[in-house]
Symmetry: C5
Subunit: 91 residues, 5 copies
């Protein structure tokens, strides 16, 4: 999984009908320090994310499709959790 920040919402009317019913967001992927990596991904939301929230995104078709009602949906990325905080581990 990757850490991402919810940055944009995608509005799409012409799409495959199996993609309907889940909001579609652009996530900016963050590195370990919480900085933007420059990479982004489009993901479905199954958690109910809010503005600018940090989330965990699962990026892989087989894994991602498990949370979607339509098991044959062409989905490869899903928001699976909100992040409360990230604790540094004492070394």
């Amino acid at each position: 999984m990757k850490i991402g920040i919810v940055s944009r919402k995608i509005i799409s009317t012409e799409k495959n009908k199996r993609l309907e019913g889940y909001p579609l967001y652009v996530l900016d992927i963050l590195d370990t320090e919480g900085n933007l990596t420059g990479e982004s991904v489009v993901a479905f939301d199954t958690v109910g994310v809010g503005i600018g929230e940090k989330v965990i995104v699962t990026i892989e078709g087989d894994a991602a499709v498990q949370l979607i009602k339509h098991k044959d949906a062409p989905v490869d990325a899903v928001i699976v959790a909100k992040i409360d905080r990230i604790d540094e581990i004492e070394k």
Copy 2:
């Protein structure tokens, strides 16, 4: 999924017969700001895309193949939606 812009069409006569019946496009992948990333992908179109349109592409074999008639087609990328617009989320 990734955001791409339809940039070229591929003409191929010698190909696996399970690939027939779907137009094959080159998509330039865009970053969060809508700029070209330099990455590109070849994808089947199942939506009916037009010239220079922004689309969402699912990149992953299992997920992608769901929209194709031949379930055993060797496909790893499919155009799944057109993008009307991308809204910035107020922070």
Copy 3:
């Protein structure tokens, strides 16, 4: 698989219920020389890792989900082994 070092723990209360029961860590991916690559991944722990340990992480939905109780969990990375040491092979 990749070599990673356990660097942070993620605290998440709002998440999919199929993700519950496994600690969730941020791993920094290491290169052949043991240096940080700058890449990181969020992974479930099924081994019982400790502070700053070097581990092997499997990154791929189908493979990763095999170690999870919920076979339909949306998981794409799992810690599968601790590394005792890495031997250079004499050439």
Copy 4:
């Protein structure tokens, strides 16, 4: 899928027996402009490619294995089509 150019042939006698029967090539991956990206991939040929030809390669285990006789072959990339030409789309 990606666009590649057939650049080298791999000769391998000690290999898994389920890999036998298909020629194995090195492909240099090309970008949208047809320039080398520096990335390369090893792929099976199921089309019958010739010298220096531009081809489409499917890169993903589940999708790739569909064209191989042995359904349990450990294959993650297959040449699926020859490219006649790539048309720029008028904007």
Copy 5:
């Protein structure tokens, strides 16, 4: 698949029991010219590789797991062939 050179062996005692019985190596991935790319991968050996040998590695869970006795092993990379030589194709 990718071309790699066997560079290190990983010693791991605490690991998932389904990972037992196969030696675990670090491979340095090579580019088309045979130079190091800086990328590395941890892979199981099912061929019986020796010191500094060039090999082909399949990187993908579904494909990789086919060669492993435990079909539910959390494996995403397997050495599938030794390379005798790589022939440049005359253009």
